[in-house]
Symmetry: C2
Subunit: 571 residues, 2 copies
């Protein structure tokens, strides 16, 4: 196949007309050509490399890899480096294999990383453990291009042998190691990076990015559903104000802070998490446009989602150059980035209207091993009329929580929610056969009645539930169990739910259907009084113990500042 | 040799610390590394690829290639694609060979182009002809990387067979063809480009650049001593105003003019001509800083003088990547671009104070074959008291001239200069053995007494002279002849001169000495009443017939609009 087009050359950062020959899915020849005014090139618009997301958890889209691909190609994405951390917490290596198997069946470039931190902590019950032997099995696979984000920074810093064996294995197999070290700094950061951890997507300030960049870390600016760090990071004027220790900045100080030479600081734009309702609207195409609006040179922004990921992870794509796989998209213009067509290995997979491949299901064998619950499972008992309790205070859209307390009344020896204080009941139901239930209280969720439950609850994905009464909580959890996973909303005699039968995390349905259902459930939750912008996401992070200050696992209320359990009832 | 440094990676457009191993002058390994706060990298500052000038005539520096290299490495230049067009006009292929031979003796990357248009026109006497057979000889040389700028656009457009044979030979030897087509547009441009001419450095407006870019031409933004087009080209707001036919702009319109996505338009920054007094101050380092100040992304600006030239001309340099030649520089910061050290093929050639190589001379065999002149050679005779004459009106620093006329008195039958009208005498003395002298008048030069003569007179480099009296003109010309070429300034009994014994174009002296002498001569010319900023350059272009509207060759006064000779005396 041979054709002519204006191409964006991300090596030389210019545009020119070229004749392109594709053979066996590879750019065989790319030759600049001279055209005249009457020339009509074969390709209308501009041909640019397909976009690559260097760090994403597919599971957050609630879609299978194949369904993810089907929506992503509409936005010009042709590849992702994905970390199957969520499914690994539920199903271990078998879950990763199921993802890889499903991914292989669609024409889209899935590159996997080996999930390095499963389970996330020892303070919760996960569905599986991925130990260093498992990591070795995964790193041997050609589909696996890196060791996944090393979230266990205390383990790295304190020399945990199992953690370090995983890191060493990455070197043995010649694969890079992704990092995850929010706010880790100075000597701790040095210790964390020393084993060769080479990326970070957790920078939330310019100063943090700068310190890591100086130490050799490639910086992923995150623009996803959960975190929008990119907007903060690309705002140089604001960033300048945050600098207290200019001596840290070494060679970069003059360039960046006196002369606003800013672009060399960032290497990638990533999404990390992309929820179905966001994903139907856009992916990296939106992020690149936003980066341009924030003042990043357009070619630099495109580099961050094309040649840079390819270069770092050793992927044979990301540029329209001879020898690379013919992954490319046709856009109307760089500024609009309307995706006219998407090609993978030279084949059209999106023609501007339809996605041209079929999507296989993943077999949905039940991963929810939990008995049905009754209201009494969610009761917290106290002898007396009133008691003081520790309460999780959640913040809309934030992974962080605040510790607070409340005085609650009892009725028949059972501590009651308080609408007037906005203190509701929260519980985590173990789903891996042990049937433990941990109960506590949460403030700030705003629900006036009913309950919501979900089997998406980072990182172990036990069933999390928030509700006004124990009865409704039991009803919501049982609906999730019946659905073999998913999200359920209950209010008195009304129930609606989104089944996520694949590991309790994903649906075989397509993005539009899943997004629509999420939207319906969101509307119901709003009608029940919750004012949060992202109620399901906020709830899903209430079990993420590694982020401070107070969380809950199936084993109890957890003090994230001191990394230990704490009592619900204070006196 | 192995060392650590922060490097600017022009492929991924980021900066990171790396361990670099150089072997046999080549980057053997370039590995990103993790460092900590206490790490002291071997190289202080930032390591970036050495700069490459994609289009320069070394002869304009009045320096030999070796002396040019000696000053250029101080500014971070490690390579040039140079067109020995000037020496070829004087000495033909032998001159090119002398340049190549001299260039080889210093550690600097000289890539030559085969001068495609020697002589420039048939209306002047040049020292040599470079025909298509000569071009073939040159294109076979490994030092020759392209066919030099094809200035003869009428020849290309009208199908001149000899011109087209030269173009075809470039394709036979797989070497790109440089263009030169000022203001050539629409169908004429199509015809000009059709043989595969792939660069242009003559764009003086954004619209011109845009039309050429759309047609597949790579655009060289020029920032030299003679032309400062870059400032005009990189000013997008001004450029927008010049657009009358947006339909011409096709796929670029929205990006460039609505959203200021501007950088993909330009491929290279070049100097074209760099005079000695400018060259001692800076080269591409200055131009990149200027481009950044004009709003071009710094990494894009650096790409234009590193990877882009390397990519286009097939040079194994321009990036700090494995397998490329280890041409690099150490700078303090991107914004300052102070050159701390310069390395070529891994060897330090400039240590921040001294240039670490010796510079060989070129043997200065005399290329001035002209008999001594007398005052009468410069007399213009007229029978009568007064006559009307055609006059060249020069514009300071411009290649263009205006046609004007003047009424001049005679004395003893000889037409006299007029100080009150600022009309002086100008002559071109043939230097290749024929001894022709053509006389005419020039306005706007401002000299109140004396004469200046030079053997730098584009493109044939006969001896050009401007003066108040015939006596002084003869004296100045004879001084140039005595010096075997160069510039001479005469006033009554006073003479000073810069000998340029190599082809009448270059000196074996170093840049500082030549620049100083040019400065002294400039001061004298100013003292003689000339207010031009660039008197020698302006004079040198008075014989450049291809630029309108009125010029002079050794064969007579020339009408550049109609491409024919014209009479000096009107009636």
């Amino acid at each position: 196949m041979s054709f002519t087009a204006y191409i964006l050359d991300v090596v030389s950062d210019t545009i020119y007309p070229a004749r392109i020959t594709v053979e066996n899915g590879i750019f065989k020849k790319v030759t600049p050509i001279i055209v005249n005014e009457r020339t009509i090139l074969d390709v209308p618009g501009l041909m640019i490399p397909g976009f690559i997301d260097s760090h994403i958890h597919i599971e957050s889209s609630m879609l299978t890899p194949a369904q993810f691909a089907k929506i992503a190609v509409r936005h010009g994405t042709t590849g992702v480096v994905c970390d199957p951390h969520e499914i690994a917490n539920v199903m271990g290596v078998a879950g990763v294999d199921a993802m890889i198997e499903n991914a292989k069946q669609v024409p889209f470039n899935f590159y996997f990383t080996a999930p390095s931190c499963v389970p996330a902590t020892t303070f919760e019950t996960s569905g599986a453990t991925v130990d260093s032997d498992d990591i070795e099995v995964l790193l041997k696979k050609e589909e696996v291009v890196a060791l996944g984000e090393m979230m266990n920074y205390p383990g790295v810093i304190n020399g945990d042998p199992e953690v370090h064996r995983k890191l060493e294995l990455a070197h043995v197999y010649g694969k890079p190691i992704d990092g995850h070290a929010p706010l880790v700094s100075r000597e701790d950061l040095d210790k964390y990076l020393e084993p060769g951890i080479s990326t970070d997507h957790e920078c939330s300030t310019i100063l943090e990015a700068l310190e890591k960049k100086l130490k050799g870390v490639k910086i992923m600016a995150r623009d996803g559903s959960s975190a929008l760090d990119m907007e903060e990071l690309f705002n140089v004027e604001e960033g300048k104000k945050s600098i207290e220790n200019p001596e840290l900045l070494g060679v970069f100080y003059t360039d960046i802070f006196e002369n606003k030479i800013y672009s060399p600081l960032f290497d990638f734009i990533v999404s990390d998490d992309k929820h179905p309702d966001d994903l139907i609207k856009g992916h990296l195409n939106q992020s690149v446009k936003k980066a341009i609006r924030l003042g990043i040179d357009p070619l630099k922004a495109i580099n961050m989602v094309t040649i840079n990921p390819a270069y770092h992870y050793g992927l044979n794509c990301g540029a329209i150059v001879e020898g690379a796989r013919a992954d490319y998209i046709i856009v109307d213009s760089i500024s609009n980035l309307n995706i006219k067509k998407t090609y993978i290995a030279g084949e059209c997979v999106f023609d501007g209207e339809n996605v041209l491949f079929d999507v296989p299901d993943i077999d949905a064998h039940n991963s929810i091993n939990a008995s049905k619950k009754t209201a009494s499972d969610f009761d917290i008992h106290y002898d007396g009329d009133e008691c003081e309790v520790n309460v999780i205070e959640c913040i809309d859209g934030d992974l962080l929580t605040k510790k607070t307390t409340a005085k609650l009344k009892t009725k028949d020896g059972i501590v009651q929610s308080s609408l007037i204080q906005d203190v509701l009941k929260i519980a985590v139901v173990e789903r891996y056969g042990g049937n433990a239930v941990a109960n506590a209280f949460i403030k700030g969720f705003g629900l006036k009645k009913g309950a919501i439950a979900s089997s998406v609850a980072h990182d172990s994905h036990n069933i999390i539930v928030i509700g006004y009464t124990s009865e409704e909580m039991a009803q919501a959890v049982n609906q999730v169990i019946d659905n073999k996973g998913g999200i359920a909303v209950v209010s008195q005699d009304f129930t609606d739910s989104l089944p996520l039968p694949i590991a309790g995390l994903m649906s075989n349905d397509d993005a539009y259907d899943v997004a629509e259902k999420v939207g319906v459930l969101h509307d119901i939750v709003s009608a029940l009084g919750c004012r949060l912008k992202s109620p399901f996401m906020t709830m899903a992070f209430m079990a993420l113990l590694v982020i401070p200050s107070i969380k809950i696992s199936d084993q109890g209320l957890f003090d994230g500042d001191n990394f230990e359990f704490m009592d619900v009832i204070i006196n």
